[in-house]
């Protein structure tokens, strides 16, 4: 009988690990549906970005108030998780506060720090809930359905988890005074405020409340860890690889299509170094029709997106009422790769259903509205690049479907025939100088 709680704990832990690893494998497979992209260049710059932008949250601080509150939650998350280590050891070994005897008064300090962070997290989550639901910050308004619920759920779950810690510590302190079995930890500042709620309870009720809070917190954390992988909250992990693998070249540079280069060179009769007579390697689809035509980094970006909408709030097209929203581009990409992943699991072709660039997801009207200004890329706190996805979509429309807007087709024709995007005779190109050289 005495091992029953340890067995129960191991079972809970095993179930959580099972679901977590299964989901991580799914996400990894989904990301690998994307095309290859070489991001092995410039490692020092990549580490610098990871350190400053992901770990240091540099870009978050463009908006100092939400950045500060976010930092509290982030710090709380990282540091309070040290306590989860104790939970897990206690759970497996059947011990209670296993670090307390060894750490002595430092343990008291540590738990007080954790409690401070728990209160800070609680406070920030409450402010964030108010911002989302009462103040209705513009960039959160377009979210509806699951994304809206997801955002609120995360905040509510974090509040409940923090309350569980504080309840546990409050009842534990009461038990320390009444039952010698409980290890003396010294007093905890923040949870002491909750003591009046519990001090009239009997020892057995207190034990029940303390144990309930302990189990609630650890099961809550494990369940939340699984939940996170289905949620926008996945950014807590994906922010790091996404920042590391984000582009380190000037933002204005578009990636060269080497398949096209080979073809253009042979059309122009420039030696490509390839052995002649050999049939050219099969050219993959030009640009992107579907999510698996995008580079894996773009797909990873879709899982790193926390739907904060800073990109959309900076997008000139969106600001002026066009349908384009870089956030929606990322959310659509994620929905589509999730769908493609499910197709594969069910033994169907990945491409079944509507492709990413179709009326079900990202429409022509959206991609045609982009000014390629890079404001979204600049705004993203974790260096996601929605612009690259948009431009890949345009490539498919222009080169595979020839369905670019008519005026663009006219512009293409002008460049082909007059070597300028406007229809001027190429011989007039140097006329501007005549006026100047004749001027005295």
């Amino acid at each position: 009988m005495e091992y029953i709680s340890q067995i129960a704990f191991l079972l809970v832990l095993a179930i959580a690990i099972f679901f977590l690893t299964r989901r991580i494998r799914t996400i990894k497979n989904n990301i690998q549906l994307g095309r290859k992209a070489d991001r092995s260049d410039n490692k020092p710059e990549r580490w610098k970005n990871t350190f400053l932008i992901a770990l240091g949250q540099k870009k978050m601080f463009k908006k100092p108030i939400p950045a500060f509150l976010h930092l509290l939650i982030y710090g709380g998350f990282l540091i309070i998780n040290l306590e989860v280590l104790e939970f897990i050891i206690d759970g497996i070994a059947g011990t209670h506060r296993i670090f307390a005897p060894a750490l002595g008064s430092f343990y008291t300090v540590a738990i007080n720090v954790f409690e401070f962070l728990a209160v800070a997290v609680l406070f920030s989550c409450v402010v964030f809930l108010i911002r989302r639901n009462v103040l209705k910050v513009d960039r959160f308004k377009p979210l509806a359905g699951w994304p809206k619920l997801d955002a609120n759920l995360i905040l509510v779950i974090e509040i409940i988890l923090m309350l569980a810690i504080l309840t546990m510590n409050a009842t534990d302190q009461l038990l320390q005074g009444r039952d010698e079995h409980y290890i003396q930890t010294g007093s905890f500042f923040f949870s002491s405020f909750l003591i009046p709620l519990f001090e009239n309870m009997s020892i057995s009720t207190l034990v029940f409340v303390e144990r309930f809070a302990w189990w609630f917190h650890i099961i809550g954390i494990l369940a939340f860890a699984v939940y996170v992988t289905y949620s926008k909250h996945l950014h807590i992990f994906m922010a790091f690889p996404n920042t590391y693998y984000s582009r380190v070249e000037p933002k204005g540079k578009m990636k060269n299509m080497n398949d096209v280069t080979t073809e253009v060179k042979s059309m122009l009769g420039i030696d490509t170094g390839a052995t002649s007579g050999e049939p050219p390697a099969e050219v993959a689809r030009l640009g992107a029709k579907d999510a698996n035509d995008l580079e894996w980094v773009s797909l990873m970006g879709a899982y790193a997106c926390t739907e904060c909408g800073r990109c959309t709030a900076e997008c000139p097209a969106n600001i002026t009422g066009k349908k384009l929203s870089p956030r929606k581009v990322m959310m659509d990409t994620r929905d589509r790769i999730d769908e493609m992943g499910k197709n594969i699991k069910m033994g169907k072709p990945a491409e079944e259903g509507n492709p990413l660039f179709s009326d079900s997801y990202i429409t022509d009207e959206e991609i045609n509205a982009c000014t390629s200004c890079n404001a979204c890329v600049e705004a993203c706190p974790v260096n996601i690049n929605p612009l690259d996805i948009i431009l890949q979509g345009r490539r498919f429309k222009a080169m595979e479907e020839s369905s670019s807007p008519q005026s663009w087709n006219a512009m293409f024709q002008n460049i082909e025939t007059s070597f300028a995007p406007w229809k001027f005779p190429p011989t007039d190109r140097f006329n501007w100088a005549k006026k100047l050289t004749e001027e005295k």
């Binding site: 000037p250 933002k251 204005g252 578009m254 060269n256 299509m257 096209v260 253009v264 060179k265 059309m267 122009l268 640009g287 000139p316 097209a317 600001i319 002026t320 009422g321 066009k322 349908k323 384009l324 009207e365 045609n368 509205a369 982009c370 000014t371 390629s372 200004c373 890079n374 404001a375 890329v377 600049e378 431009l391 345009r394 490539r395 429309k397 222009a398 080169m399 670019s404 807007p405 005026s407 663009w408 006219a410 512009m411 293409f412 460049i415 082909e416 300028a420 995007p421 406007w422 001027f424 190429p426 007039d428 190109r429 140097f430 501007w432 100088a433 006026k435 100047l436 050289t437 005295k440």
Partner: protein
């Protein structure tokens, strides 16, 4: 007005004489054909003449860099343009290029190397800043823009795309003018609405035109001059000012025009 005889040597003439210029001035399609931007080309050419820079242009041998084709998705057309331009540029052994168009600048600098075109490419704002720093342009004190409010509209392809924010501002400051910033500037600068090949099509349906949104912001600064460094921004901001019926009180001018006017060129 001035007693200088302006010269616009072409690469063909120069190489015919066995000479090679210090820098190639890449004029761009807007600089060659757009009536408003031809004035910028002329202003910049006058400055080059005045300072005595050994420069040349490609003249009729120049053609579109391919930027709008690439942004609109037509990679084939872009690469055709790029390769034929690279053949011309490499044929003349060009080492250094200056251009008054941020789109040409971005493409030549970042996108031609992969196709075999390696040049030192600078935008004319940086070129002008260097001339000022080197004392080759000494701005007369009490010039036309002394104390006047000037705001600078960041071109996306100069600013965010390539991180050039300070050079154009340094040029404005050198005029002894009062540089006033718009609410959204530098990394947060709002696009004029013409990038990504939008210049060559109508905007998608929406509430407002992007250039109107941006012009309102520029007018809010109370500046008498909206300075720009890009032909597309120039068109969009000028149209915006016209739309707001402010063209008599607010001028949209390129950095080269500001310098040239200040110098009485």
């Amino acid at each position: 007005m001035s007693d200088i005889t302006y010269k616009v040597p072409t690469m063909q003439e120069m190489s015919g004489k066995g000479e090679s210029p210090e820098v190639l001035f890449w004029v761009g399609c807007a600089g060659s054909f757009d009536d408003r931007y031809k004035a910028v080309t002329i202003a910049f050419t006058k400055i080059l003449n005045k300072v005595g820079i050994n420069f040349a242009v490609l003249g009729p041998e120049e053609s579109c860099t391919g930027d709008p084709a690439r942004r609109a998705g037509n990679e084939f057309l872009f690469q055709m343009q790029a390769m034929s331009n690279i053949q011309v540029l490499n044929g003349y052994n060009v080492k250094k290029i200056v251009t008054a168009c941020p789109h040409c600048f971005n493409t030549l600098k970042n996108e031609y190397p992969e196709l075999g075109g390696n040049y030192e490419v600078i935008h004319h704002s940086t070129f002008l800043q260097q001339l000022i720093n080197d004392g080759k342009i000494t701005l007369k004190g009490g010039g036309e823009y002394k104390g006047k409010k000037i705001t600078f509209h960041d071109s996306c392809y100069l600013g965010r795309a390539n991180g050039v924010y300070e050079a154009p501002r340094d040029v404005i400051k050198a005029l002894d003018a009062e540089l006033v910033e718009m609410k959204r500037c530098k990394t947060k600068g709002l696009c004029c609405g013409a990038g990504g090949a939008q210049m060559f099509k109508d905007a998608e349906p929406g509430r407002k035109e992007v250039n109107i949104e941006r012009t309102e912001e520029a007018l809010d600064t109370g500046a008498e001059v909206i300075a720009a460094g890009c032909p597309f921004c120039m068109t969009m901001m000028s149209d915006g000012v016209k739309n707001k019926e402010k063209e008599s009180s607010v001028k949209v001018l390129d950095l080269a025009e500001l310098i040239a006017k200040n110098e009485g060129l």
